[in-house]
């Protein structure tokens, strides 16, 4: 009894609540727990999941990035256009990653070096980059010449599609980075107390720049996979991604005021968002009601988590 309570109220409480919800959904929603549906579900959260990895760092360091959706679209475009132009897919991929990283780097420089508010900066780059994607493509989808590009998304390893593997690898990688490396601890430190970190000799400015650059790079990965999945570069792709990703993170217990983050929480946050969408479609809930249900699920998830942690008597 007591150990059950401990599990429920412990650090991993959200995971436990989530697991319980998962079991309930599996039992009551037909077609939910099939291999096909599970893979479909995981595929549908690949973009959110991948971007959430670095968004976690960004939020944990008390920053904020609204430009992720635009970067995903832009680097997807870059991948396709450069592949087409050079005839080489690897060159296209490198170009996409580079584009992503450069935008992220610029974000970082402006925010950390010139000390401009992160919300405004990334809101600005969100628009600038989206504009560039539209200008580059004249607002049109760009098709992929070499069908091998599709294989990125269609290929499978042990029956599981590559994008899902990539997402899983990134989960593990960034989970490790957060908890076990100097980079991760410094991220949490500058979020928890930037002044103290600076006084302890952490190079806060550089850390922030790196985190944004990394965020951009990872958006590049997401952009490539997305372009491959939809077999074209679309300048309008991934609008509104920023809010979904940030919600997934916050749902997973990442604190917006910095210093607190856990990969397991973020994964759960991402999955909750994906499952909600999936189940509503499986249950054939009408589009307008889906808005309401989506909102309620968000609320209930944080409410449960909150009850749990306040029962555990933690300090706000």
């Amino acid at each position: 009894m007591n150990s059950l309570k401990k599990i429920l109220l412990g650090e991993q409480g959200l995971v436990v609540i989530f697991a319980a919800a998962f079991v309930i959904v599996s039992l009551f929603v037909p077609n939910f727990l099939t291999e096909r549906n599970m893979l479909g579900l995981l595929q549908s959260v690949v973009t959110i999941g991948i971007v959430a990895c670095t968004m976690m760092f960004c939020l944990a360091s008390r920053d904020f990035d609204l430009s992720v959706g635009s970067i995903v679209a832009f680097s997807g475009m870059a991948a396709v256009m450069v592949s087409n132009a050079t005839g080489s897919i690897p060159v296209g991929l490198v170009a996409a990653l580079l584009c992503g990283a450069i935008v992220g780097f610029v974000n970082g420089i402006v925010i950390a070096r010139f000390r401009i508010n992160a919300l405004i900066t990334t809101l600005a780059t969100m628009q600038i980059v989206r504009g560039l994607a539209l200008i580059a493509s004249d607002g049109r989808a760009v098709g992929i010449n070499d069908p091998a590009f599709y294989q990125l998304a269609l290929s499978r390893f042990l029956t599981v599609p590559t994008p899902i593997w990539i997402m899983l690898i990134l989960f593990i990688f960034f989970g490790f980075v957060l908890n076990r490396t100097v980079f991760g601890k410094n991220t949490l430190a500058i979020g928890g107390n930037p002044e103290a970190s600076r006084l302890a000799g952490v190079n806060v400015v550089n850390m922030r720049i790196w985190i944004f650059a990394l965020q951009g790079l990872v958006c590049g990965i997401a952009g490539i996979l997305l372009a491959s999945r939809i077999t074209s570069g679309q300048p309008n792709a991934a609008t509104g991604l920023e809010l979904s990703v940030i919600s997934a993170c916050v749902l997973g217990g990442v604190s917006l005021s910095g210093g607190r983050a856990a990969m397991s929480g973020v994964i759960v946050g991402v999955l909750i968002m994906g499952i909600a969408e999936n189940v509503m479609n499986l249950l054939n809930i009408q589009a307008f009601y889906q808005y309401v249900v989506r909102g309620l699920i968000l609320l209930i998830a944080v409410l449960l988590d909150n009850l749990r942690s306040s029962a555990a008597g933690r300090r706000g």
């Binding site: 989808a141 997305l226 077999t231 509104g240």
Partner: protein, 304 residues
């Protein structure tokens, strides 16, 4: 005086509207007037766009409104700014839903386009000799956009009257109007009905149908078992046709941005410069383009 006309559209990022603008510009160049292009995604933006046109001394404008119910407000605003008004694509309606017949309009009814899509699907089903009972239909829906509802309902009405069983039509609501959202929604439908062998798909536009086609590929349904028919005919559709082997994206109903952009601009110019009022209602039609004939169809419509 110099003639200056406005061209307001509801979704400036969409290729369709880019094309309308392009053709309007072409007309302007030929006749020597100016086109001011403004994107207005909602009612409020429309209001300020009209004010803005008034302020910069335009004499009239053409608009594809974000919502047809904005009609009375647009008419009032145009009058207040002494601007001539013409609509394109979507026709304004009054509070009770009746079309505002005084406002000249060029367009195509959303329901009609939908019906063309439905007809194309029915024809192809018959050609491939599928039994409609064994076919599933994905309705990629975006119900908060009235035009989108009208289009898919148009398609459904044709399917049903051709004997397509209503219970085989499955809703795949997209959260946003991009391909990824359609892809995710359609994937769920396909996985839920894993036993269905043949599929057809339709939706708001090419992007929506492409999402459904991508979903069918990702769950391993062969292209020959899928008939997707889109609407629009811009690059995303053409890219499909250019792919080395045929995909489930069977065709698209192309509507001509040339007429909508070029002719409306000319009409407005004539109205202002020569006092020649345009026709109250001009309806254009959509043409089905397939992998084999899209280049020709586009040529006929004056695109490219």
């Amino acid at each position: 005086a110099d003639v200056k006309i406005g061209f307001i559209v509801k979704q400036p990022e969409e290729p369709w509207f880019q094309d309308e603008w392009k053709f309007a510009d072409q007309a302007a160049k030929e006749r020597g007037f100016t086109v001011v292009k403004i994107g207005a995604e909602d009612g409020e933006k429309v209001q300020s766009a009209i004010d803005n046109l008034g302020a910069q001394g335009a004499q009239g404008f053409i608009i594809c409104t974000p919502d047809v119910k904005l009609g009375p407000g647009i008419v009032a605003k145009a009058e207040a700014n002494q601007l001539k008004l013409m609509t394109v694509d979507d026709r304004l309606v009054s509070a009770d839903g009746k079309p505002l017949e005084d406002v000249p309009h060029m367009g195509i009814s959303a329901t009609k386009i939908g019906e063309t899509v439905g007809q194309a699907i029915v024809d192809e089903i018959e050609k491939r000799g599928w039994d409609m009972k064994n076919v599933g239909a994905i309705r990629v829906s975006y119900d908060q956009l009235p035009t989108a509802v009208d289009r898919v309902e148009g398609a459904i009405s044709v399917l049903k009257s051709a004997g397509f069983p209503a219970e085989n039509i499955y809703d795949a609501p997209q959260a946003k109007t991009d391909t990824e959202a359609a892809l995710n929604a359609a994937t769920t439908v396909l996985n839920k009905h894993a036993d269905v062998k043949y599929w057809v798909a339709f939706g708001l536009n090419d992007e929506a149908v492409l999402g459904a086609v991508r979903a069918s590929e990702s769950v391993g349904i062969p292209a020959a078992n899928v008939i997707g028919v889109g609407i629009g005919g811009a690059e995303s559709a053409i890219n499909e046709f250019k792919k080395p082997s045929a995909t489930g994206f069977f065709g698209t109903v192309i509507i001509s941005p040339k007429r909508h952009g070029y002719e409306t601009a000319l009409n407005m110019y004539d109205w202002i410069a020569n006092g020649k009022e345009p026709e109250k209602l001009t309806l254009t039609s959509g043409s089905l383009a397939l992998r084999g004939n899209y280049e020709q169809v586009r040529k006929e419509l004056g695109i490219e």
